[in-house]
Amino acid sequence: MTMDALSGVLLIPALSACLLAALPGYRLTARLNVLAAFLTFATAVSLFVVEPKSGPYLLVDDLNKVFIVLTTFVSFTTSAFSASYIGHEIEIGRLKPGYVRFYHAMYQVLMFAMNLALVANNIGLMWVAIEIATLTTVLMVGIYRTHEALEAAWKYFILGSVGIALALFGTILIYMAARPVIGEGLNAMVWTVLVTHAAAFDPALLNVAFVFLLLGYGTKVGLAPLHAWLPDAHAEGPTPISAVLSGLLLNVALYALLRFKMLLALNPVALAPGPLMVAMGLISCVFAAFMLYRRRDIKRMFAYSSIEHMGIIVFAFGMGGPLANFAGLLHMTMHSLTKSAIFFAVGHIAQVKGTQKIADMGGLTVTHPVLGWGLVLGVVAIAGLPPLGIFMSEFLVVSSTFSRQPWLVIILVFGILIALGGLFMQLNKVAFGEPVGPTGPVEASYVPMFAHLAIVFMAGIYLPPALVTGFQNVAKLLG
């Protein structure tokens, strides 16, 4: 494998992981972490400039380019956020310095795994990568070693493992379906080959395979009723990891799902994957919306909001069509940026207030105007209000599908509305009213948070043509 940008996005994290595992002292490692993440991001961007040719193992096309750049960017900003965050955690002694080395190493491993999953041209390789990503996140969720953290990690681990198992079975079935057509051996697991022959595959096998893949990777996406690990993992893990989980890992799993959807869509006889995705999307959206109301832990609440948005995205892709797919991609991008920004804000808030309980924080816009209004802006964005990006994507999702499936869209709209209610009910408690809890200053930089929000804001008003054409190509690719 020649040393090109493609291997760069894999090697940089891998090497820096080893390096960080070896180095002591969190300040240095934190900086190195940021540096590595930035280099990865830079290499990812360079993919647009020179597109390396994809081999039997690695692959670059319009679809995963979008995902890679998004992933690397958010992981870069998150690493910047985590640098200050972890510093504070060590000061208050919540995190032992010993763990930090481990934490940073794991962070890079996670980046490596996610990038690998995105560039893998081999369904088996992709599966392995996603498994690694899961394991690393399990370890990071449990890093605080509290009852809750361990319990969340354990739950995540068990459910995740089952998911992985199901996904693997699906992968095997795909191979079985491909073998008679393509012949034995590696080729029967290579994307580019699979796609060209998909029409000839045995439909029944494809159907069973898709069911297993949907449930297996759907567990990672956090679709209800497979979502159970997600809220606790978000709530109990360190906040940077919550941001990465919501902003990236869910996308990676979604990416896998989309690949297989394309595969099925190419086969005329096999069942249409759309309706299944639409159904699960709607269930997730409405269910998560209702779950927002009773939440007492702010991070868990936003985790549920992630489930809701994943539901919307899966719905959009399930409906298909150029506009809906475009909307789905846009929504996914906007959600990643917004949700990670919200988690940055929540991290600061939790550190200031010394708790994640919504009841113990209040009147933020009075005590911490910047932070409070930042959170308000984030919630406004995530609730799908203009002039921020998610409004555009929701506009496109709803308006482009309503004339096709009125009743389903009405359910979706219902979910969106319920979710908006829940979010603002909680926001009223957190951001407004009489101040509650400690009002100490925030010693951390707002830059990552507002960088994200600025992008989201700009996207809501103006999308650069390059991005648009890229998305449109992908939308066509997805059919």
């Binding site: 009852h147 809750e148 361990l150 089952v162 693997l168 079975f169 095997i172 073998r179 029967a188 007492r296």
Partner: protein
């Protein structure tokens, strides 16, 4: 391929399913572990047979892993755990044995129906194997959801995974099988160590999931 090899492969796969049923039938942990060891043994045999049939030497590695790791190491470790926890005589099921068996039969029937829709030109061996593998997988899941004890859940998960390996080896010429089985062994090791850790750190006085749920983040 000629009939006899086919029949043997068939026999082994089938007996794996039977083993899963025996697992479902067991309600004592110690006995359950024994049965699982047998389960792994059968798997090892069937994998080895596949290696022989497909002339794929690398599959022997998988067979060996199954034999050594799953049939010997894990059972021993688990037995030590349950002895330390003093739950080796424990009898615990959520669903009674009878209903569990019935469900199991239903699942096997389901997997048959689903798999036999596959057009026959995919070679019959693969087809049958998949049917059995699917039933083993489903039975493993059933085991996980009908047992309350972490150990028996782990065992359920491992038999599920056995089903996967069966399917993977049955898939003729599938690459990465060895790697996958290794990866899974690592996963299982994690789980076992996890249970062990919880015990040693005295975080959980029992490995019963309900006890663990007491430490849920958000109390009612």
């Amino acid at each position: 391929m000629h009939g006899i090899t086919f029949d043997i492969a068939h026999l082994l796969a089938g007996s794996l399913v039977v083993m899963s049923f025996v697992q479902l039938y067991q309600d004592r942990l110690s006995a359950l572990i024994n049965v699982f060891a047998a389960h792994a043994l059968v798997l090892a045999l069937s994998v080895a047979w596949q290696a022989f049939v497909q002339e794929a030497p690398h599959l022997y590695i998988t067979a060996v892993i199954a034999l050594v790791f799953k049939a010997i190491v894990i059972p021993v470790a688990l037995r030590r755990i349950i002895v330390r926890l003093g739950i080796h005589r424990e009898i615990e099921t959520v669903v009674g044995v009878g209903p569990a068996m019935l469900l199991g039969i239903g699942l096997v029937a389901l997997s048959m129906v689903v798999m036999l829709r596959v057009t026959a030109d995919a070679d019959p061996l693969a087809r049958e194997d998949l049917a059995f593998a699917l039933s083993v997988v489903l039975l493993g899941l059933l085991m996980m959801v009908t047992r309350r004890n972490a150990v028996s859940q782990v065992i359920g998960f491992m038999s599920l995974e056995n089903g996967l390996v069966l399917a993977a080896t049955g898939a003729k010429g599938m690459p990465l099988v060895v790697e996958i089985s290794v990866a899974f062994s690592v996963l299982i090791a994690f789980i076992v160590i996890g249970i062990f850790l919880f015990r040693i750190r005295e975080r959980f006085d029992t490995v019963d999931m309900q006890a663990m749920d007491r430490f849920r983040g958000e109390k009612r």
